[in-house]
Amino acid sequence: MAQMKLVEALNSALREEMERDERVFVLGEDVGLYGGIFGVTQGLYKQFGPERVIDTPISEAAIAGAAVGAAVTGMRPVAEIMFIDFITIAMDQLVNQAAKMCYMFGGNVSVPMVIRVPAGTGRSAAAQHSQSLEAWLMHIPGLKVVCPSTPYDAKGLLKSAIRDDNPVVFIENKITYNLSGEVPDEDYTIPIGKADIKREGQDVTLLATGNMVHYSLKAADELQQEGISCEVIDPRTLRPIDYETIINSVVKTSRLAIVQEACRTAGPGCEFAATVQERAFDYLDAPIIQIAGMDVPIPFNPKLEKTVVPSVEQIVREVKALF
């Protein structure tokens, strides 16, 4: 076991997969010489050279499209879109092309590609660099959507994503990049589509991804002081969703609070809430609540920014109100 930051865990996953499989290559804006603006691809250019670590033009549609083309012709590209906000520019390639090809072509074509997208708030990057657009991607059959919260999960899931034969959107919460955690030295993977119980509890299930997992864990500590035992579940994959783990937890606790940075309307929590009430209605002892980002663009001013996304204190308060 080594202690490493999430950004380093991602870096080592990329490095090991590129060493293991020569079909794996990296492309994106500033991923080469510069090492990625968040440092995820640091050192890869030096080790693998400019042909396998490709600095692309600032052309998101072309990056995504090039990855699709490479993937259907035998390569395993890992593309970086600098901010999830810019995935909007790549949407046609991702949604109409990558996600549909296997299906449209009668199952004869696989699109083994990964698109890595940093997301989320916390850095005063304002409205065009701070969004949480996972719901857009969760909505598309044919895509897989992964969203790790710890260095261990990040490495194991990125390896699975690279080895997967389908287009995987890999969402990295930027505020978690510097978070440290234990990561095994040996090769390991974490299956896509499997949730993880980050903390066991009896009274209420908190469902969160990315940085909100850590907020939820902190809130769970505080709530424990008040006699409320929280189970914290990180779905880790947002498509396909591991409902078995989630439903089992809700059956046990009878309460579900979804914590998300994404804004409320038609966000990921709507999907979770709808399905859980459908499948576990008779086990609910309180309404399912969403502790979500407000329905506004992300403001620049740091205090305003903090105001529009959930805080630990807000989670504690809203969960207490369920009892």
């Binding site: 804006e29 500033d30 080469g32 010489l33 510069y34 090492g35 603006i37 600095d55 692309t56 033009p57 600032i58 052309s59 998101e60 549609a61 072309a62 906000d85 810019f86 520019i89 850095r123 005063s124 990057a125 304002a126 409205a127 065009q128 660099h129 407000m294 329905d295 506004v296 663009p297 403001p299 620049f300 001013n301 740091p302 205090k303 305003l304 105001t307 529009v308």
Partner: protein, 327 residues
């Protein structure tokens, strides 16, 4: 000093305003007074200044993430700009936009943009609008070399060409798309060559020569106003600072520091000072006085920004939909 009274003095003061504003940001950012990102325009002042010299207040510009210079050259208020960079209530966007999202439609600034190439279709639409309204306005669309690789560039220019829109696409070729040198992101040297593909005129000029910029853009503006359609003016220049103020050692990972020194020798302001001295009898004393005057404006702006209150938290929930305007 207004453009009409004394254009040379306006050129000098405007470029200096941009330079000193940006230099102040280096300090302000380092002190943690400014949240978010700071993409500085130092070294490229002649482009915004020369281009905006050709515009009327009612004309439009669209800007980029590296937009402070455009905003100042088009007449933006230094206090409101600085306050916005600090995220304060008195800023242009009441603290909600920050450095990358300043707009002032009252003087034709249609907004900086956080998306590379994001402003190009917007400029095209503004030009379409002024054509439809027969308003005789033109639009200058600023963007960098790397934005010319976005689909939005190609789609917009083709559209503007077909419809003969009054828009001037000013490429600030500062040689880098973040860390990637132009030679590594496109296989041409002159982006203006791309004009051929859309049947419009493309010109390459020295972007560090404010007079050359003004002449070339001025001709394109005149052409646009007379209904002859869009042009591409490519201004060759250089970004002295890193991509943003967190870019270590001003981009030493991807460029030779000697290259920066070489370009500093081509400083657009020093060059213009030389011209003013030889052609218009300016002295070091007049430069010094102007510099002191501008520096004071910048200090005042910082003081204004520092002493301004933070926005009220409920501001975060306002303006998701238009509420009739704030100013």
């Amino acid at each position: 000093m207004s453009k009409k009274e004394n254009l040379n003095q306006w050129f000098y003061e405007t470029m200096l305003k941009i330079r000193l504003f940006e230099e102040k940001i280096i300090d302000v950012y380092a002190r943690g007074l400014m949240p978010g990102l700071a993409h500085l325009y130092i070294g490229e002042e002649a482009v915004a200044t020369g281009a905006c010299a050709t515009l009327e207040p009612s004309d439009y510009i669209t800007s980029t993430h590296r937009g402070h210079g455009h905003c100042i050259a088009k007449g933006g208020d230094l206090n409101k700009m600085m306050a916005e960079l600090f995220g304060k209530k008195t800023g242009y966007c009441r603290g909600k936009g920050g450095s990358m999202h300043i707009a002032d439609t009252s003087i034709g600034i249609l907004g900086a943009n956080g998306v590379v190439g994001g402003g190009i279709p917007i400029a095209t639409g503004a030009a379409l609008s002024s054509k439809l309204r027969k308003s005789n306005q033109v639009t200058i669309c600023f963007f960098g070399d790397a934005a010319s690789n976005q689909g939005s560039f190609h789609e917009s220019i083709n559209f503007a060409s077909v419809h003969k829109l009054p828009v001037i696409y000013v490429v600030e070729n500062n040689q880098f798309g973040i860390s990637v040198h132009q030679s590594r992101h496109q296989n041409i040297q002159d982006i203006a060559d791309r004009a051929v593909a859309y049947g419009i005129e493309g010109k390459v000029i020295d972007g560090n020569d404010v007079l050359a910029v003004k002449d070339a853009v001025g001709q394109a503006v005149a052409k646009a106003r007379s209904g002859e359609g869009p042009s591409i003016i490519e201004c060759k220049t250089y970004r002295w600072r890193g991509h943003h103020e967190g870019d270590p050692n001003q981009g030493a990972r991807y460029r030779d520091p000697k290259e920066i020194d070489d370009w500093k020798k081509k400083c657009p302001i020093a060059r213009f000072e030389k011209y003013l001295k030889s052609e218009h009898g300016y002295t070091d004393e007049t430069f010094k006085a102007t510099r002191a005057k501008i520096q004071q404006l910048i200090e005042d702006a910082v003081e204004f920004a520092r002493s301004s209150p933070e926005p009220d938290l409920e501001v975060a929930l306002q303006d998701v939909y238009y509420e009739g305007g704030r100013n």
